[in-house]
């Protein structure tokens, strides 16, 4: 007599058709690959930027050459900067009108739903294609309040030039690590936001970064300054089609949250699986300020991503909510760093990670409480779910507490999909895949509901696609 057969559903590669479309490179201007002083000078010359910036680039290049690649995380030995084109300029100028954006580029952003989202739910949009911004626009009602949202290069020659000079790579210095130095040398594009005192931006601003060119790097710089009492929700999205050669993303995000200000920074990273995502993000929060990170990492071949919050003023608060999904061939090393550097500061970290089909997902956190951060509170919670026996999950939480009168807590769990739960759901008529998808969605749900709505829907779709098997 045969044993009862239970069909196991192979879980297939994700359907990336939403992101995985390429456009021919039309009349683009592309510097040669690799990293030399000549290339750095060429990038600077194209941008007509102030002298201090060229100086900054050259110093960063020097730092880059002095630093080693990290030896503690996922392997990046296959990433060869000599093969990466650091600057690719699409054949267009920055515009505030989608109709002036070349058809192929506009079509790209149309397919990603950006102009549509702009009409419905955003106060302003920036869109970058390869190395340059192609579109930047801020609603008049928001601009009227004195809010600045523009390309950062453009702002370098305007009334905010001095403010930018005072903040640019001060939070993330080139010496931070090798890829921060690389960024300092070849950065291009990105957005600048300034919100004046007590101005509340009611609808989110969004910058979207699209890398179309094979073998290229994207090095955008995002600088956001919230003056005291200001309030902003900023959304960052990124994607790229898959190529057979390595692409590199080494962007940099610097966020200054003033006294009593509130910033929410949401990111959905969905780079293709040939991408090395070595991005650096950091926020400094002054007295009574609040920083909220919402971070979804789904794409990339290899990621090193640990947004850092420096709680620099009394009663400053931060909340980090993150989800990472590592599929076949992906090694995603994500987490967060928090520095409690003033009394009565508090931080909450809540993350979930998933791995399947041999994917590796590692959660790393470093919470430091300095000697003067009396009465501070920190809590870290990370949960991992492995969807099969081939996949791996690690959690590496570090706490460095140098003060007695603080309250710190940490909880971590790593588990697999519970067979009893799958049986329970299947006994209600759900297929094995539907049951697993429901369990995974339920696991991710507390995080996905923090995402901007269209991204939450997108995330659920991603999970569904990722889980969809070859049944029938």
């Amino acid at each position: 007599m045969p044993e009862v057969l239970t069909k196991t559903a192979p879980i297939t590669e994700i359907n990336r058709s939403l992101y995985d479309f390429t456009k021919a490179e039309k009349d683009v201007e592309k510097l040669s690959s690799g990293l030399t002083e000549e290339i750095v000078r060429q990038i600077s010359a194209k941008k007509n930027e102030p002298a201090w910036m060229l100086e900054h680039r050259l110093k960063s290049l020097q730092t880059y050459n002095e630093l080693h690649i990290p030896n503690w995380g996922p392997d990046i030995s296959e990433l060869n900067i000599d093969n990466i084109v650091t600057y690719v300029r699409p054949n267009t100028k920055l515009s505030a009108n989608w109709d002036e954006v070349p058809e192929d580029i506009k079509d790209t952003f149309d397919r990603l739903g950006i102009p549509e989202a702009e009409k419905k739910a955003l106060g302003g949009v920036g869109a970058q294609y390869d190395s340059e911004l192609v579109y930047h626009n801020l609603q008049k009602s928001v601009a009227k309040k004195g809010v600045i949202y523009s390309g950062i290069e453009e702002a370098l020659s305007g009334p905010f030039a001095e403010m930018i000079r005072k903040h640019f790579m001060r939070l993330v210095p080139a010496s931070d690590h090798k890829f921060a130095a690389l960024h300092g040398a070849v950065w291009s594009g990105g957005s600048f936001v300034y919100v004046p005192p007590y101005v509340k931006v009611e609808i989110p601003l969004q910058s979207y970064f699209r890398l179309n060119s094979p073998g290229a790097g994207q090095f955008e710089h995002t600088l956001i300054i919230l003056d005291k009492g200001a309030d902003l929700h900023f959304i960052e999205g990124c994607s790229a089609p898959k190529y057979n050669v390595a692409n590199l993303h080494a962007g940099c995000v610097e966020l200054f949250v003033g006294e009593n200000a509130h910033l929410r920074y949401s990111t959905i990273e969905n780079w293709s699986k040939n991408m090395y995502n070595l991005n650096t993000k950091r926020a400094k929060v002054e007295k009574n300020g609040i920083m909220e990170w919402v971070s979804g990492s789904f794409g990339s071949h290899t990621s090193y991503l640990y947004p850092m919050t420096i709680l620099n003023g009394e009663y400053a608060k931060s909340e980090f909510t993150g989800i990472t999904f590592a599929g076949e061939g992906q090694n995603l090393d994500t987490g967060t760093k928090i520095l409690h550097n003033a009394p009565h500061t508090s931080s909450v970290v809540n993350t979930k990670s998933l791995s399947k089909s041999g994917g590796i997902s590692t959660f790393r956190s470093a919470v430091t409480i300095t000697e003067n951060a009396h009465k501070s509170k920190a809590s870290v919670s990370c949960q991992s779910l492995m969807l099969d026996d081939k996949s791996r999950s690690d959690t590496i939480p570090v706490m460095d507490v140098r003060c007695d009168d603080v309250n710190v807590g940490h909880e971590a769990s790593i588990g697999r999909i519970d067979d009893d739960a799958v049986f329970y759901l299947m006994s209600r008529g759900l297929s094995e895949n539907e049951a697993k998808t429901l369990i995974v969605n339920g696991f991710a749900n507390p995080i996905s509901k923090e995402l901007p709505l269209e991204y939450a829907v997108e995330m659920n779709n991603l999970i569904r696609l990722e889980m969809e098997g070859g049944i029938g």
């Binding site: 009862v4 519970d418 067979d419 049986f423 329970y424 299947m426 049951a435 749900n445």
Partner: protein, 254 residues
């Protein structure tokens, strides 16, 4: 078409590491009938209930299961559920992040009789009333943080919403207070209204068994069905326990 709903023939089940649990069982439940399965702890009652839904923790080593004359021995859990077999779990599993409402909606959409939104809402409201369940439960994550009694009620809610052909109730009444047991009785009575359907109740609870019309009782001891009869068996066990049957199995095994 015959009146047979479920027919189990020479059915043997082992754990995945080959320990025999159920031995050569034969049992037939006809449409409109309510059967009771009794037996001491560890007899294999829950294994039988969940193997009728192809729990992958067990494997069939011999025999067949026919459901409405179709051999379903090789069918996986979801396929059997779609044919109309429902198991009310003794220990329902917590599923975090999924609300009871959205789960019910998708389970019903998946079932043989998917309802329109309006039909679904109306049916749901009437069953909530029968089971004395507050609407707030619908917004809570499935079974998460529910008390034992709440879980059993939610199993009954799923049973009545999905309206299967055969309902297997595994200790649906265990751990419930008298009021809650009476509510479960209302649920069972509601289900029994349809004479095309059948039921297998795994229970020791005299309060519930004495109030139901029972067609047949099966006594399971050490994986064997050792005795069968009418509801008079229930009273015998209530008074004398299972010792007479356990001795019988001892003789049989000797």
């Amino acid at each position: 078409m015959s009146e047979k709903l479920l027919e189990v023939n020479n059915y043997s089940v082992a754990s995945t590491d080959d320990i025999a649990i159920l031995k050569n069982l034969n049992l037939t439940i006809n449409k409109g009938e309510t059967h009771v399965l009794m037996g001491p702890n560890g007899a294999g009652k829950s294994t039988f209930g969940s193997s009728l839904l192809a729990n992958p923790a067990y494997k069939t080593t011999h025999g067949h299961i026919l459901f409405e004359d179709e051999d379903i021995t090789a069918l996986a859990t979801d396929k059997r559920a779609k044919k109309g077999i429902f198991l009310s779990f003794q220990n329902p599993v917590e599923i975090p992040g999924i609300s009871l409402y959205s789960f019910l909606r998708s389970a019903v959409k998946n079932s043989a009789v998917p309802l329109t939104n309006k039909q679904f809402r109306e049916k749901l409201n009437s069953i909530l009333t029968i089971l004395d369940l507050k609407k707030e439960y619908l917004e809570r994550d499935l079974n998460v943080g529910f008390s034992g009694g709440e879980r059993k009620k939610v199993e009954m809610l799923q049973l009545l919403m999905l309206s299967p052909q055969l309902a297997i109730l595994d200790e649906t009444d265990s751990g419930l207070d008298v009021d809650a047991v009476n509510i479960m009785l209302k649920g069972i009575n509601e289900f029994q209204q349809d004479k095309e359907k059948g039921m297998l109740i795994i229970s020791h609870n005299m309060h519930i068994l004495n109030k139901l019309n029972i067609d047949k009782v099966h006594i399971l001891v050490k994986g064997n069905i050792i005795a069968e009869g009418g509801s008079e068996l229930i009273n015998e066990i209530n008074e004398h326990g299972f010792s007479r049957f356990e001795i019988q199995v001892g003789d049989k095994n000797a």
